[in-house]
Chain length 456, copies 2
């Protein structure tokens, strides 16, 4: 739905309702104020809700004289557009507001910046490739796949018996695998370390996306090249972008078969801004290691300590030391609807929906609180629940018009539980940028306005 | 990859290599003719291939002096484009050939026609929404969601206690479910009934696509409206397009919870040409019943016999009678790579990959033959394998340069096995248009060219 900027603050000192809001003032006005008690026992039973929300309401119009159902609109009485009018289709013009955006609060240095995924309008677990977040270190480019090459070599003589250079066509004739995985920037939710509550979930959590990736297992390519895995304990991945992004990947991840040299994303070739024609897929690991425009894998026997693993993507701990190579994205979740900048229209029934993920495996459960963490209810996980993949959770909720603080807390299959800010800061301090997986809080005001707050 | 039209016939009487080919002459020329025997025992073991392909070859360049890896290309030595340069991203300009297309062999009547999904370039199971096939009866339109209404009523008094009209916002606050399902037009592969072998998999099978759909269970909405399911045994779904597409849906499908009133597709709102802002999702059932631009559900006690279930979408049987309401899409599969119009470049290793699906549940197994059905090998199914959803299968294959006929044969969890054309015609005759799920054959010529053939 469309939306327009609102500037009046709900919570003093906070920016509210940015232009990318899912619900605009127009949307709100368009909803009838008439309500009916329609939740009967049958409905509650079908949902497995028990008596908890049996008194809830759903605002639904039931006017037989609603002009928009009685009078045929123009599209019911005319000839539409022909097929293939858009050979490659695009979203409706009424959805043009739901796009990737740069945070107004972030400095852009040349072409090195971030564009966030609009999670507030997301459904399910797949992120449309056109909305996948972007984070570049030297900008992006549309590489000619016929000229792109991918090389495998070793750091030391004999470490790779047959160093090779592959074309994209060479790779595409090899056995492929397709797997759904989330991809999260290590700096996602980074602003919240300093309690700089950015207004919407697009900016708090919009550096996570999820796709079905297709490619060749890196271990297969190493095997083809005669790599000596008893000597090679790490690989270096190098990109073809101007920054020559280089990252060290531990061999254990490669050996498991999880690491892919990927050319496909969501059923088609990768998008240029996401690495076309080749990127590394390192499930569960922070996005910077999923090297885009991948041109080289080098086998070695120690971490490389490259620029982006020495200066950036390190965690400044309370004692002043930097923690390095903390690459696994720990268990995390966020409520996407309702979320900051949105508005509940009327009391009664509202579905709570969000996303959960863990770099250590599958999500086991998600609990939701509407009172800032005092009481929790277990949400329903939508299928499929896949390892190192986004999982969609939903929970029915009946809003009584009171102030509410919505939270989600995920637990993964290894037993890790998403921490509160108090728990996270006890270990990590407050001076980090990266790897914030704390529980997010959304304040619902009695007016229905939703905003970003931090609770201990 | 790009491609250009080739007109010289491989198989007399057949059109070959249409413009949408995945591999073009340029692609072929770009691949090095140098080959090495690189498949070692380790590689074969990793694939679980045993000795069968141990002698195979992968053409891979291994030249240390390959100029495209030694000399830095322009994109490695310059600043790229900034983030959000495309707020809603698009495929690479090098992929512009991979789009929905109308078959040159099909007549277009006004805005009623078909645009096919380019399965020859597909990976995994998700179809990008921009490539989802189109089939309209009166064209498509971009409906204003604020003006769209959805009504539920009954055919007879009292059948629905509280007829209701919902806005999109009303529906979006209800509990949602997200599920991945294939969507296949009943006429998919229809040309092949008459042995009119169209050249590519885009035209033989490109009326199947697969998405993650999000919406509200129809049974929940019926319950909210107080529908009497003891009297209502069918529902009528009606679209808001100019043709007022109307289809009868049996109540058993609704009762199971599978039928959704959906607004989301692949993580965002439906695309206009696929029903924005609302469509019915009827898993396993032919696409015409997934009514787009859904405006009304009527509860009734008998099938309606609407135009598109009386004149169209019926099966003309050998005895001259029409079979009606045959809506389940039976178990089916097709090899997408290699497929008609593509070309194998060089002998040796080539991965066979394709899609399988069944309207009755999950795919249990897919067997692949390279000798026209005399011998079969079981393919590997990629995860996730979901009910009434596309399943991607892959099988390693080493081509020795001989003539080969590639086939895939799917079996679903109910035990149904995809038939040969001989088996299908023994029951259905040859004068049908709809519901062809026979085994597809692709002929590989010694030159490497792949074309569409029919075998008994």
């Amino acid at each position: 739905m469309g939306g327009k900027a609102k500037t009046d603050p709900v919570v003093p000192g906070r920016v509210r309702a940015a232009p990318e809001n899912f619900l605009s003032a127009d949307d709100i006005a368009a909803v009838s104020s008439g309500r009916r008690d329609v939740l009967r026992r049958g409905f509650a039973a079908a949902l497995g809700l028990g008596g908890a929300v049996a008194a809830s309401t759903i605002p639904a119009q039931a006017r037989a004289d609603d002009p928009d159902i009685v009078d045929l609109p123009p599209w019911s009485t005319s000839l539409g557009l022909p097929v293939a009018a858009t050979p490659y289709g695009m979203p409706s013009r009424y959805e043009r507001n739901l796009v990737r955006r740069q945070s107004p609060g972030l400095t852009q240095v040349g072409a090195a910046s971030v564009a966030f995924t609009p999670l507030q309008g997301s459904f399910g677990i797949i992120t449309p490739s056109g909305l996948h977040f972007e984070r570049h270190h030297q900008g992006w480019m549309d590489i000619d796949p016929k000229r792109h090459r991918f090389m495998i070599n070793g750091s030391l003589p004999g470490m790779v018996a047959r160093p090779m250079v592959f074309t994209i066509d060479d790779l595409m004739r090899l056995p492929s695998v397709s797997r759904m995985h989330f991809l999260e920037c290590g700096a996602n939710t980074g602003m919240e370390w300093g309690n700089v509550a950015v207004p919407t979930v697009q900016y708090t959590h919009g550096m996570v996306s999820c796709s079905e990736f297709t490619g060749v297992e890196l271990r297969l390519l190493l095997d083809i090249c005669g790599a000596d895995l008893s000597r090679g304990t790490f690989v270096l991945a190098e990109g073809a972008d101007g920054s020559s992004m280089t990252r060290t990947i531990p061999m254990d991840l490669v050996r498991s078969g999880e690491v892919l040299v990927a050319y496909g994303q969501n059923g088609e070739m990768l998008r240029p801004e996401n690495g076309y024609p080749l990127r590394l897929v390192v499930p569960g690991v922070q996005g910077v290691s999923w090297v885009k425009w991948l041109r080289r894998i080098e086998l070695g026997d120690r971490p490389w300590g490259a620029k982006d693993e020495s200066i950036h993507y390190v965690d400044l701990m309370p004692d002043g030391q930097h923690r390095q190579y903390t690459s696994i994205q720990e268990v995390k979740s966020v409520i996407t609807t309702p979320s900051g900048g949105q508005a509940l229209v009327g009391q009664g029934f509202h579905a709570i929906s969000g996303l959960a993920w863990s770099g250590r495996g599958a999500v086991r459960r998600v609990d939701v609180s509407v009172d800032g963490g005092r009481n929790w209810r277990e949400a329903t996980l939508q299928q499929p629940v896949l390892p190192k993949c986004l999982t969609r959770f939903v929970l029915p909720w009946s809003w009584t018009g009171e102030r509410a603080i919505l939270q989600a807390r995920a637990t993964d299959e290894t037993g890790h539980v998403q921490p509160t800010y108090r728990q996270l800061r006890a270990v990590r301090g407050t001076r980090s940028i990266y790897h914030n997986n704390a529980i997010q809080s959304w304040l619902v005001d009695p007016s229905g306005e939703v905003s970003n707050v931090q609770t201990a």
